[in-house]
Symmetry: C2
Subunit: 115 residues, 2 copies
Amino acid sequence: MVLMARSATTTDAFNAVAEASRRDLLDAISTGEVTVGELVDRLGLSQPQVSKHLGVLRAVGLVLVRVDGRRRWYRVNGPALQPIHEWVRSFERTWNTRLDRLDDLLAELNDKDTP
Amino acid sequence: MVLMARSATTTDAFNAVAEASRRDLLDAISTGEVTVGELVDRLGLSQPQVSKHLGVLRAVGLVLVRVDGRRRWYRVNGPALQPIHEWVRSFERTWNTRLDRLDDLLAELNDKDTP
DNA sequence: TTGACATATGCCGATATCGGAATATAATGG
DNA sequence: CCATTATATTCCGATATCGGCATATGTCAA
C-alpha cells in the first residue's frame, strides 16, 4: 500500500501552481511563445530548474510545447486553469457582493451593541 | 542556512489550497459558520485531521474563528482568496472566446461607470 | 564527422508534508 | 469536583519535493 505524504505536484493544476516559480514561469510564458533558454534568462533560474518546472506544468496540461529543431516553444494552455478559476469564483460572494458588505455592517453594529 | 524542499503549506493561500481536503473544508465552511465537529461529520475525516487542516487555513488567513465556550465556529475569510482570483483572472484571455472578451469589455466599461 | 548548442533527465541530501494514534488543553454539566 | 465533551497538539514512519550538479539526448553548423 502506498501512503502519500503530500499530493504530487503533478496531481492537478492546484498543486502545480502552488509553487511560486511555476507561477512566474506561467506569467512569463503568457506573453506568447517562449523558449526555455529565454525563460532561463528572464527569470534567472538554472536551466535544469526551468526544465523541471516546465515538466510539471506539462504534466498537468498547463503548458503546451511546439518542438522546433533543438529548441522548444512553450505556450500557456488556458483551459487547464479553469478548474481553479471556477473554484475560486464560487467564493466571490464572500468578498464582493453588496449582501456581504451588508452582513459586515450588521455584524459591526452587533459588536457595538454586545461588547 | 535552511534549505526548504517545498514551500510550506502555510506560506500562502496557493499552497494551503493545493490540498483537496482543505478545499473541501472551505466549501463546507462557505455555507456559513460551522463547528469543527460538524466538519468532521460532514467530510468523514478524523477530528485531528480536520483540526490540522483548519490550522493551516487559519495560518494563511483563509478562515476566521469565533470561540464560543468549548466549541469554535469557523467561517471563510473571502479576501484571502483574492490573490488567487486575481492571478488566475490575468489568464482569462488565454481561454476566453470572442463572446467572453465582449463580456470583459463590457465589464471594464461598467467598472469605469461605477467606481 | 565533430563539436557546440538547447533541453531533458538522473542522482543527491535536506526538508516539510500527510494520516494515524495517543495525548494535552479547556470548558461544560451534574 | 469529576467525567464528559470539543478541539488542538505532539510524535511517528513513509514519502515526494526542491535545488544543485552532472550527465544524457538530440540537433545544428562548419
